[in-house]
Amino acid sequence: MRYLVRRMLHAVFLLFGVSILTFLFSTLAPGNYFDEMRLNPQIAPETVASLRTQYQLDRPLPVRYARWLNSVAHGQMGFSFAYNSPVGPLLWVRARNTLLLTLTATLLAWALALPLGIWSAASLGRLPDRALSWTTATLLVIPDLVLALGLLIMAVRSGWFPTGGMVSVGFESLSPLNKLRDIATHMTLPVVALVISALPMLVRHVRAAVAEVLDAPFLRAATGHGIPRRRLLYRYALRAAANPLISLLGFSLGTLVSGSLLVEVVMSWPGLGPLLLEAILARDLYVVIGGVLLSTIFLVGGNFLADLLLLWADPRIRTEAGAE
């Protein structure tokens, strides 16, 4: 119990720390949203100045931070200059889209990685294992960007899949079922890209974790009891190999909002990625801070969840944690 409370406190402190640092770095970096406007000779300097005052960019740093914290408490998380609206709802809509993509991709990747990794470990050194290792090594080397672009090109050439965006024109007029199908077809390529980029590393980790366990005495003992091979692999070996995999799962969950930035931008998926990119380029301060904070929450949350899972899955850790 103490263990969990400590971890949660750590998490909260971490979030505060990250928000302060992000705030500091963003505001201390030269330039701000209105720089472009200032360069525009058609806009009077007084207008710019008054806009600045309006957005309170001239107040001292701690004051702005305090006001921002207050805004977070109200769910608004500051104000976006570019979109002229509170950041909170903006992030929320985009995050939803991103999560749609990444949750699907993560689930799919893990669902494929587990059996592939186990199969690889079970046939260690033989043909299936070598073929898989070669494939994963090749896929690992391909940069995500190339992958995403490659898929796009294929989509353009073949016309099978839409080439970007989340919904087609005239989406609103579709029936609910068709709406779903529309989103699904638009989702396919980004999800494929994400799965292909995540799968190799997962498969290799699963393979390594399971291979280490396959040599263990308790597995030989279980074979000696006549436990069928399949059950041995999934019920015995996988369970014993779970620890490093659960940590990996935590990492997977942690990058749910941040991992798809590249793919989203390339495939014009209206998620968090493009929003963040635009905001950084335009110096839309509060959007940037909001985005970074959201990513951090997921990262910390993912790890925390992994710790909880680990406590549940491994009784030896439970005993250790209790003895603290």
């Binding site: 119990m1 003895a323 603290e324």
Partner: protein, 269 residues
């Protein structure tokens, strides 16, 4: 003759428990007193959990007792400071049960035996090498194998190596914590013979910890039986075997595997 080691009323408590649960205090040693005369062997017999290993660690100055005194060669080592204890430790050496875990598998046999000399900064490199070789010969490891690593040795040879290492600093007291328990029967006999030979030629004192009553009776002048952190019976080996008084002693004797047989064999082939 004055006793080399005199343990008086030694207590060692460990505190366990979780944050919200009541803290428990376990007495690993609950008032242990014993003494060993120079150049003799005291066997400490008991079940696991009786406190034998804790006693070994305390006597070797690797654990601090909660209370009580350990008189070694006229000084109370339990009361000494860290620095002074370090000066005493070379005189009390330990040999453990599992040589696979207590020997550094990356070092050669020669390096393992020379290591204590290096740490204690004795002799120069050449002299150290010579001494290490001599020690290996003494315990029956031929010079040819001096360059091999522990995993190239058999269990018995590894234990000989551990003994050689323990002898490097010329200790007065050797604590053997289940040192023979993991070995085959014939190898146990060989190592037991080695220990006896070393004792008679070097005048070593042994604290022999075991749960094998037969080996204890064979090697020791006196046997102390431990149960739940206390010494429940102490006396000469013959007496304990003939008329054990305490329940724990009787249980241990009854549990020792025995078979009729050696009595009928002619002594010596």
């Amino acid at each position: 003759m004055q006793a080399l080691l005199n343990v008086e009323n030694l207590m060692k408590r460990y505190v366990t428990g979780e944050f919200f649960a009541a803290r428990e205090s376990i007495a690993a040693l609950d008032g242990v007193s014993l003494s060993i005369q120079t150049a003799t062997t005291l066997a400490l017999v008991g079940e696991s959990g009786s406190g034998k290993s804790t006693l070994a660690l305390c006597v070797a100055c690797l654990e601090r007792p909660t209370s009580g005194s350990i008189w070694f060669d006229g000084r109370d080592v339990a009361a000494l400071g860290e620095k002074q204890q370090r000066a005493v430790r070379p005189q009390i050496q330990l040999v453990f049960q599992d040589p696979a875990n207590s020997l550094n598998s990356r070092l050669t046999a020669l390096e393992i035996v020379a290591e204590p000399l290096i740490i204690q900064r004795r002799f120069d490199k050449q002299a150290r090498s010579k001494r290490a070789c001599a020690l290996l010969e003494r315990v029956g490891i031929s010079a040819k194998k001096a360059g091999s690593r522990p995993d190239e040795f058999s269990g018995g040879q590894r234990q000989r190596l551990a003994i050689a290492r323990a002898l490097a600093l010329e200790p007065k007291l050797l604590i053997l914590d289940e040192a023979l328990s993991a070995l085959d029967c014939s190898v146990q006999a060989q190592i037991a013979n080695l220990l006896l030979e070393l004792q008679s030629s070097l005048g070593l004192t042994y604290l022999f910890i075991t749960h094998d009553f037969a080996m204890a009776a064979h090697l020791a002048d006196e046997i102390a039986v431990m149960d739940h952190g206390r010494i429940v019976e102490l006396g000469a080996a013959e007496k304990l075997l003939r008329s054990p008084e305490h329940e724990a002693t009787r249980c241990l004797l009854a549990a020792t595997p025995r078979f009729r047989g050696t009595a009928n064999l002619p002594a010596g082939l």
